[in-house]
Symmetry: C2
DNA sequence: GCGCTGTGTCCGGCTGGCTGCTGATTCTAG
DNA sequence: CTAGAATCAGCAGCCAGCCGGACACAGCGC
């Protein structure tokens, strides 16, 4: 399994062969992206929709920053069932497992490009060194992780709703927050979502999602055009909680 | 609401009035606890079981490290319903919201001491400064947050199980990992858990939990003595997934 | 053209939520 | 230490919501 086709196209190291993580240090207002790009051993990758970024069981040696697109983190069970643990939006950090204990560890999630994706990957050791050499790096990473935690906790909130209707509504609102682009008639979720994908994210089944989405559409709350969902009025939708 | 009884007992600042976050810096092998204790403005608190640490709406200005005990992070709805977003174990970092954007923000969770709790609280600004002055601080905090993320994601996995039986089993295993103390006849979860509390954590109802726990007990998989659950054999329990 | 993936719909069956009640246990205040 | 209050646990019955499986069809890519 390890080493199977990855569908990557590497565009070499950092655009400028920066001196180990000091480039970004100079000004304090630099972004996470700048920092990551400046790391030694950093690689900028483009991954096509549906291709794997890492498999469960792969060694965890790099930290990723999602620069563009969406990534799905999922758990695969022996039964073949697959559940989505997180749908990462732009500027999310992932693969942080590698930052933990010095001892070598393996991925247990499956990371797949949910859309065409651009990401920056840096070796964990390199990240550690950069932090030691430049304190502002640590702060930026910390903020990145903090916002990941908040996102994840919102998702937990979504999942503890008892009835599927509330769960779906709550999930749609999360998606609006993370992937929504405002249009003239509401917020459009910029992802091509199949009912199956939604079901895997909120712990339901395809059929149920079809039914509930149909209800929402008939109620005039959402619109679906070629797998893209538009929420007309998030506030009105939020009232749909049981 | 803000400023209501908190049930705190503050034991002054850092035991030694350390120079702004440099104390812990000296040796690289220091712990998160050492770091936090060394921060300027840091406060060590003891909170009794059931007392609130922060309310939703309180200003988010401090970062907490849970030194001893368990903390429940929950969301309170207008309906009066309350769901548990996280059950934090020892050495968990929380209140990280305050690290984010420089602009002032407010808590949206309710943090309650689930057991008698000892915690270290430091102002966000102080944490930021410490990171800038001592790079090793950033790394430690990062590792703390990383492990929080992994915990949270495990919880998401638990919550996406469709049938309540699997969900409960999965949750019990999480609790064993986080709060389990090995005994001569299995692993005992060192928390006094009411059925209601479990229900609020896994999105179910009190009655269902009662029934399912009864089933597990009758199957000889767990034992419950005065609200403390003992799992005889986690491996056997894990086979209980649908 | 064909196959694949995704959507829409129907139905039977059962899980699990809801309500109401009772006895047990724990907490608190006097 | 005890009495009363509050929380907790267990049980039963009812019913809706959701799952599982199955099938037809639409759209799209190859």
């Amino acid at each position: 399994m390890v080493g199977a086709m990855r569908g990557f196209s590497r565009t070499g190291g950092p655009s400028t062969p920066a001196p180990v993580g000091l480039a970004a240090a100079a000004n304090g207002a630099s972004t996470l992206l700048d920092v990551m790009r400046g790391l030694s051993g950093c690689v900028i990758e483009t991954v096509e929709r549906g291709k794997t970024i890492f498999f469960p069981g792969d060694p965890a040696e790099r930290v990723y920053l999602l620069r563009r697109g969406a990534v799905r983190l999922s758990r695969v069970y022996e039964s073949g069932e697959e559940i989505t643990v997180a749908l990462l939006r732009e500027n999310s950090l992932f693969g942080v497992l590698s930052l933990l204990t010095g001892q070598r560890s393996d991925r247990f999630y499956h990371a797949v490009a949910f859309t065409r994706v651009e990401l920056v990957a840096a070796p964990a050791g390199s990240v550690r060194r950069a932090i030691e050499q430049d304190s502002s790096v640590g702060l930026l990473l910390l903020q990145g992780l903090s916002s990941r935690i908040l996102q994840t906790e919102t998702m937990i909130e979504t999942l503890t709703h008892r009835d599927m209707s509330s769960r779906l509504v709550s999930f749609l609102l999360v998606l609006c927050r993370d992937f929504g682009v405002p249009g003239n008639e509401g917020i459009t979720i910029d992802l091509r979502l199949s009912h199956q994908a939604i079901a895997e994210a909120i712990g339901s089944t395809r059929v149920t999602i079809t039914r509930l989405l149909g209800d929402l559409r008939q109620a005039g709350l959402v619109q679906i055009d070629r797998k893209k969902i538009t929420v007309f009025d998030p506030v009105a939708l939020a009232k749909r909680f049981s």
